[in-house]
């Protein structure tokens, strides 16, 4: 074992790659400073989301929240769990710690209703983010910041119709996710109004090869499909592969951005991406809580503040690439 390790380490010193890798990243990276811009007291805000483990999207939300917290002199704590019961428990923990503000996502609103009411009763301002635009005001939150899934879906349907598409497949990578269903339903609605047909396809999101073969099967079964919409950035690249393997001419479009989506948008392998600006959801939530404590400001007037949808195509992708690379778009 030791011999093997030594051999491997030796080989790694000899076998350096002159392209790509960490060194390339470091060469490109500019130092970013995060000093507070205000001298208000050091308040503590807690953010509790329904993110599962290892979700790229929520990473960006967190980054936005952290950068706003650094600027606003806020101590920022974060917790997440995809089980609603556990999420409610984390909110309760935040109340027990007497934090100065709570940010919560209402993916399963009923489960969180009581605990949000408790926070409000304890005098802690609450801002809801991402999901729960319908319940936010009713539960006593100051503001909701997020994208309306249905509206985002409708934007996709309209864009597809504008591009002259006739038959589209909406690829859902998590069966039973309400937000996903709403997106596809919204897209189906506006796409249908202009004569297009959209079908749903459920794939196994935790198993990439299976995502690819299911999509390939779908495209082979129905060659008339001319557009594929994936609901998350990592699935877009896989959809492109499936399309090529199936010999289909369909255009691949996606929700959310990442590095490979930006690259594929630039090269034309992807048609467009719908950005709900997750950075903004985290950043604005922290900033609004700060504004509320400092200046008693409220935004939205009881209505949700929308962070999306923003349609990104090849032209904008080139411009956005550096922000995507640093993980803030």
């Amino acid at each position: 074992m030791g011999v093997v390790l030594a051999a491997v380490l030796g080989a790694s010193l000899a076998g350096c790659s002159s392209t790509g890798g960490k060194r390339a990243e470091e060469r490109a990276k500019a130092a970013e400073a995060g000093r507070p811009a205000v001298s208000t007291p050091r308040w503590t805000f807690a953010m509790v989301t329904h993110a599962g483990d290892g979700d790229t999207f929520w990473d960006i939300v967190q980054k936005g929240a952290k950068e706003a917290a650094a600027k606003d002199n806020i101590k920022f704590v974060y917790a997440h769990d995809d089980q609603a019961q556990q999420q409610a428990q984390f909110v309760q923990n935040a109340i027990d710690q007497k934090v100065d503000g709570i940010i919560v996502s209402l993916a399963k609103p009923d489960a969180l209703k009581d605990v949000v009411a408790k926070a409000v009763k304890a005098g802690i301002p609450v801002v809801t983010v991402n999901s729960g635009s319908a319940q936010s005001a009713e539960y006593g939150a100051l503001t909701h910041i997020g994208q309306d899934e249905e509206i985002a879906g409708e934007a996709v349907g309209t864009e597809l119709a504008k591009r002259g598409k006739k038959k589209a497949v909406c690829v859902l990578h998590e069966q039973g996710n309400v937000g996903h269903e709403q997106r596809c339903a919204g897209a189906k609605k506006t796409f249908g109004e202009s004569g297009g047909v959209m079908e749903n396809l459920y794939v196994e999101g935790t198993n990439m090869p299976s995502v690819q073969s299911s999509l390939q099967a779908k495209l082979q079964a129905d060659p008339s499909v001319d557009a594929i919409v994936t609901l998350g950035a990592p699935f877009a690249a896989t959809a492109v592969k499936a399309k090529d393997a199936a010999g289909s001419k369909a255009e691949v479009d996606t929700f959310d951005l990442n590095e490979s989506v930006a690259r594929d948008l630039k090269s034309g392998a992807l048609g467009f991406a719908v950005d709900q600006q997750p950075y903004l959801q985290g950043y604005e939530a922290v900033d609004l809580l700060w504004l509320n404590l400092y200046n008693a400001n409220v935004l939205g007037g009881g209505r949700p503040v929308l962070t999306g949808p923003a349609i990104v195509t090849g032209a904008q992708a080139a411009e956005l690439e550096k922000y995507i690379k640093r993980g803030s778009r």
């Binding site: 790659s17 890798g21 960490k22 290892g54 396809l201 990439m208 390939q216 099967a217 592969k241 393997a245």
Partner: protein, 345 residues
């Protein structure tokens, strides 16, 4: 030669007919099930029988099948491995992150990953034989630890939950050729995983039926104490089986890395059940001591046909999981029924 044939020949040495020998094979039920599923989808889905569709099914089956082979061997040896699904992701993450962070040639990462993955397999086998705890507990522990490590390390090192692209690094294209290349023959795309799969099935079958190690595996699965009493190295056999799972997890992991070039740290959870399902459909007994590598391949093929056939048939996707479950259950029942009939003869 001069003795009259038949009367003096020991019945154990008497030649058996081909049909008899086939009936005694563990994978027979699975083959019948596979034919049934194949015929069913040939009628239910228009596009199922096209060559391009069948190559998609084969690819899908191969990604399960590569892992189903060592998992079947392990089950014949009387154990199972719940960490097999995430181990694939771990293996892909290690190669990707090592290459990227060290700015090393991609092949260096691939080799480091082989060492790390084999070490995990060794850990499973060593813990199992040392503590004498059930494999359920040991590998469940490994499963949870790997899930956490995958996420924790990826986030710590890459600053996000997926790895960075290594597609522009040296050695990538040659590694891709080995683990993720494909050939186009007309409209048909054949992936290299199919070759890996067939080769693994052949090697495993040879080990099981023609080598001493194969006898040890059957003996350990049939009854470890009796095997030990007759001089079978039980500990070595078990550790070897777990390292076999690790080796194949490494192959699968490299395939995922080099065909998608970035890896999501949360992937792979739940796939261990697919491997076990494929092995069980293929005739492996949950209690050990019985089964075959070819059976696991047929099981994986049934799984590939079912999961893609449902899409080819264009059924309402809301019912996808139900159809999948029902098909798998039917295939397994048919398998059990055929085996019973065969044994009764």
């Amino acid at each position: 030669m001069s003795a009259t044939a038949g009367a003096t020949v020991d019945e154990r040495l008497a030649p058996t007919s081909l049909a008899r020998r086939l009936l005694a094979r563990p994978e027979l039920g699975a083959v019948v099930g596979a034919v049934a599923v194949f015929v069913f989808f040939s009628f239910a889905a228009d596009s199922f029988l096209r060559a391009s569709s069948l190559s998609t099914v084969l690819y899908s089956a191969s990604t399960i099948g590569i892992m189903a082979v060592p998992v079947a061997l392990l089950m014949i040896g009387g154990e199972f491995d719940l960490s097999a699904g995430v181990m694939v992701t771990t293996s892909a993450l290690v190669s990707s992150m090592f290459s990227y962070q060290m700015t090393a040639n991609v092949w260096v990462g691939v080799l480091v990953s082989l060492v790390v993955t084999l070490a995990i397999g060794f850990f499973n086998g060593f813990m199992l034989t040392r503590t004498k705890l059930p494999s359920f507990i040991i590998t469940l522990g490994t499963f949870l630890m790997l899930t956490g490590l995958n996420l924790g390390f990826t986030k710590l090192i890459s600053g996000s939950v997926s790895t960075k692209s290594i597609a522009d690094m040296e050695g990538f294209s040659s590694a891709r050729a080995l683990f993720a290349s494909e050939w186009n023959i007309g409209s048909v795309t054949l992936k290299v995983t199919i070759l890996w799969w067939f080769a693994l099935v052949a090697v495993a079958t040879w080990i099981l039926l023609r080598t001493r190690a194969g006898n040890w595996i059957f003996a350990v699965g049939g009854g470890a104490d009796a095997a030990r009493a007759t001089g079978v190295p039980v500990v070595k056999t078990r550790i070897g089986l777990y390292m076999g799972v690790a080796l194949c997890a490494w192959i699968s992991g490299q395939h995922i890395l080099f065909s998608f070039d970035v890896v999501q740290s949360g992937e792979g959870v739940g796939n261990e059940f697919l491997y076990i399902i494929a092995a069980v459909i293929g005739g492996c007994l949950m209690t050990g001591g019985y089964g075959s590598a070819i059976g696991s391949a047929v099981g994986a093929f049934i799984f590939g046909m079912t999961s893609n056939g449902i899409v080819y048939a264009q059924w309402n996707p809301d019912w996808f999981k139900f159809f999948l479950g029902a098909m798998l259950l039917l295939a397994t029942l048919l398998n059990a029924w055929v085996r019973k009939r065969a044994e009764a003869k």
